[in-house]
């Protein structure tokens, strides 16, 4: 498995420090037993209503794409970033493909278990985005406003 991390608008191969992972259900069943865990793996059908209490203390959250067509983790990542202000790493696992990594970064993912080489050119394929998302990219409408104000 290869790991890419996203920072400063670039994807770079990262050293795979061993993670001490725990699944959300196991963690909730017995927090004591998993006190040393550093990464929380959340299945993509888990309800996130009260996840905020679980997040603190984990430096990594792992979200899953069982197939690239199953897009639930995009919503989960945004909720974890935008609603619960989680600032640790959000890692994408599973069917992580070149042509989806841009969407993932926009939703707040910043680490990718990615088999197939470099994906930086895929990130550069679009200069603008219409909507605000977890990546804090200036949406087109805001750029239009600033431009109109400057004119």
């Amino acid at each position: 498995m290869k790991l890419l991390k996203f920072s400063g608008n670039l994807l770079a191969p990262a050293l795979e420090e061993p993670l001490s992972e725990v699944m959300l259900d196991d963690w909730r069943a017995n927090r004591q037993a998993h006190a040393g865990a550093t990464a929380l793996a959340i299945p993509n059908d888990a309800s996130l209503g009260d996840i905020v209490e679980d997040l603190s203390g984990f430096s990594t959250v792992i979200l899953t794409f069982p197939t690239f067509k199953d897009g639930r983790a995009y919503s989960q990542a945004r909720i974890i970033r935008e609603r619960f202000f989680y600032t640790g790493e959000i890692r994408a696992r599973g069917d992580v493909l070149r042509d989806q990594i841009l969407f993932m970064t926009r939703c707040g993912f910043d680490a990718f278990e990615f088999e197939s080489g470099d994906a930086n050119d895929a990130l550069g394929e679009f200069s603008f985005a219409y909507q605000a998302s977890a990546d804090r990219v200036e949406p087109v409408w805001r750029q239009r406003l600033s431009r109109a104000a400057a004119a």
Binding site: F68, K69, D70, G71, R72, Y74, S75, Q76, R78, E82, R83, D99, Q100, L102, F103, M104, R106, C107, E125, F126, S127, F128, A129, Y130, Q131, A132, S133, P139, V140, W141, R142, Q143, R144, L145, A148
Partner: protein, 551 residues
């Protein structure tokens, strides 16, 4: 009409380059067909029976003459001289070569068009009222909001891999010409008691294998919250919609399994949590978009046109076309013209490159450069002076585009069916052709009155048969084509789903059955009743009996 600024133009151009790269990777064998298929589908490129099929988006069904001319040129240069207008206000080309598609997309981009999100499990091209901006009964131009949604939904990072495709329609009139109750989300702009405009939000309608009429989950949504509310609905759907079964993955299944009230609560809770995020557009940006939809500079004209009245009295064919194919315009002295793409015995929705170019010219000269595509697979010239109607009729007639049958029995919706579609069970087009030939007598058609016949070649229901006054669904039985008839559907403001009557019929019997049903209606109708009204008054039974008594 909306015009691209450099942001819109850049995004579309970059999409073409991205796809060009994907095609190159596929041709070089770096991508397998399995890997490439979802990528090409996201750009509206299917592989059908005989060839690739490219579906080009016509956002909310609005085209300029320049854009129509480009569609004509593409049909001529890259296809076999025609295109097919669809029930989602798009156009499909049936024969493009894969190697040419990036160039076609470049040509489209040069006139501010694209094929983005015309397929795939994402938010599809938003549809609207074909009379938008011209109808007397609208509150405001619904296309303003369609364009707002178009931008928000384009490459939405969270909603590009939904459980299933997602279709939104917007109307701003009491008369529903956009079929908002049979969409994943239907938005109806209306005024509340305080006189403010807002949206009725209807969710969970749809056709296909399990048809539903949508549920209203909010009577009144202030306009400024449109995008945050949509985002809440889409998020609930993305997280909770079923993914284990293709046929249960549309939002209608979720809404109906949770119940509309519970679903509404889920949406409201999500909305409360995200409403304050910067999703909704500021008023300045909405105004910027609104300005593009300002009405064209209409002349001040008298209500009636003497020249028109004279022609109406002297030319019976013209008078008939005026009755069937024109509609009242909000501005005195103007009319809305419907262009029928349903010549008797023709292929519903097909237009040749020559016809497209002619429509472009006519629109440029007589309709402020605007053309609309209807979900009933016809075209519209939205702003024609009444004084010019005769000249427009002559020009359309010269191109076989003036069949006076809008809303009548030969104005049939038919999906491509097994003549083109790789998912089809049976052909659809030949049935439409035969029904249309059977009722070739236009006097008879006018006497029968409004009648919506809709035909699908399989349960996917692209031909909207569930909401046909008479619906016809093709089913395959051991390699033979059979047709199942439904009665009493409607996709309009009085939406309802048709009821299946009896067993499957051979194609010849199906055409006879339609004739019998219509004959029965004509015997039993009361004055002023449409087929649908008589059916609703009498119920299914007598129609069934009429259908089978002589058989």
């Amino acid at each position: 009409m909306y015009r691209y600024d450099e942001f819109d133009a850049t995004i579309v151009a970059e999409r073409v380059s991205q796809f060009r790269g994907q095609v190159e990777r596929r041709l070089a064998g770096e991508l397998t067909e399995d890997q490439f298929k979802p990528l090409r589908l996201m750009n509206g490129l299917y592989l059908q029976l005989h060839a690739y099929m490219l579906r080009v988006a016509i956002p909310y069904g609005t085209l300029s003459s320049k854009q129509m001319r480009m569609l004509s040129a593409i049909a001529r240069k890259y296809d076999k001289g025609y295109g097919h207008f669809t029930t989602r206000q798009n156009i499909q080309f049936n024969w493009p070569a894969l190697v040419d598609v990036p160039d076609i997309l470049d040509d489209l981009a040069s006139v501010e068009m694209h094929a983005i999100q015309t397929s795939g499990n994402c938010i599809r091209n938003v549809t609207s009222d074909q009379y938008a901006g011209a109808a007397a009964d609208e509150i405001e131009d619904p296309r303003i909001w369609c364009e707002v949604i178009r931008q928000w939904s384009t490459f939405h990072p969270e909603f590009s891999f939904l459980p299933r495709k997602f279709k939104i329609a917007v109307t701003a009139s009491d008369t529903d010409r956009a079929a908002v109750k049979v969409h994943d989300i239907g938005l109806r702009l209306h005024k509340n008691d305080a006189g403010e405009a807002g949206f009725e939000v209807i969710v969970g309608g749809g056709l296909g294998r399990t048809p539903y009429v949508g549920h209203t989950i909010r009577e009144f949504l202030p306009k400024k919250y449109l995008l945050s509310y949509l985002e809440a609905i889409l998020r609930v759907y993305n997280l909770e919609g079923r993914r284990d079964n293709l046929y249960k993955a549309r939002i209608k299944i979720l809404v109906n399994s949770e119940g509309a009230t519970t679903f509404a609560d889920m949406v409201e809770a999500e909305w409360a949590a995200i409403k304050k995020n910067e999703i909704d557009l500021p008023a300045e940006e909405i105004d910027r978009i609104r300005d593009y939809f300002a009405p064209p500079a209409f002349d001040k004209l008298p209500e009636t046109s003497a020249a028109l009245e004279e022609r109406r009295n002297s030319d019976k064919d013209f008078a008939r076309w005026l009755r069937t194919n024109t509609h009242e315009h909000k501005t005195p002295g103007y009319a809305i013209v419907n262009i029928s793409l349903k010549p008797i015995g023709g292929i519903p929705g097909d237009a040749s490159d020559v016809q497209m170019a002619a429509v472009a010219d006519i629109a440029e000269q007589y309709s402020h450069d605007e053309i609309r595509v209807t979900h009933e697979q016809n075209l519209v010239l939205p702003h024609v002076k009444r004084d010019d109607l005769y000249a427009v009729w002559k020009a359309l007639d010269a191109q076989a585009l003036a069949t006076p049958n809008i809303g009548l029995v030969s104005d049939i919706i038919a999906c491509p069916g097994l003549d083109y579609c790789s998912l089809a069970n049976t052909r659809s087009i030949p049935i439409a052709q035969r029904i249309s030939e059977r009722f070739a007598d236009l006097n008879e058609e006018e006497d029968i009155g409004e009648l919506k016949i809709k035909i699908s070649g399989c349960i996917n229901a692209c031909g909207h048969h569930h909401v046909g006054h008479i619906g016809i669904l093709g089913v395959d039985k051991k390699g033979e084509e059979f047709y199942q008839i439904t009665l009493g559907g409607s996709g309009a403001e009085d939406a309802s789903l048709g009821e299946i009557v009896g067993r499957g019929l051979s194609s010849g019997d199906a055409v006879d059955a339609v004739e019998k049903l219509i004959g029965f209606y004509r015997q039993r109708r009361q004055s002023g009743e449409r087929f649908l009204d008589t059916y609703r008054r009498l119920g299914a039974e007598p129609f069934k009996e009429a259908l089978y008594e002589a058989a």
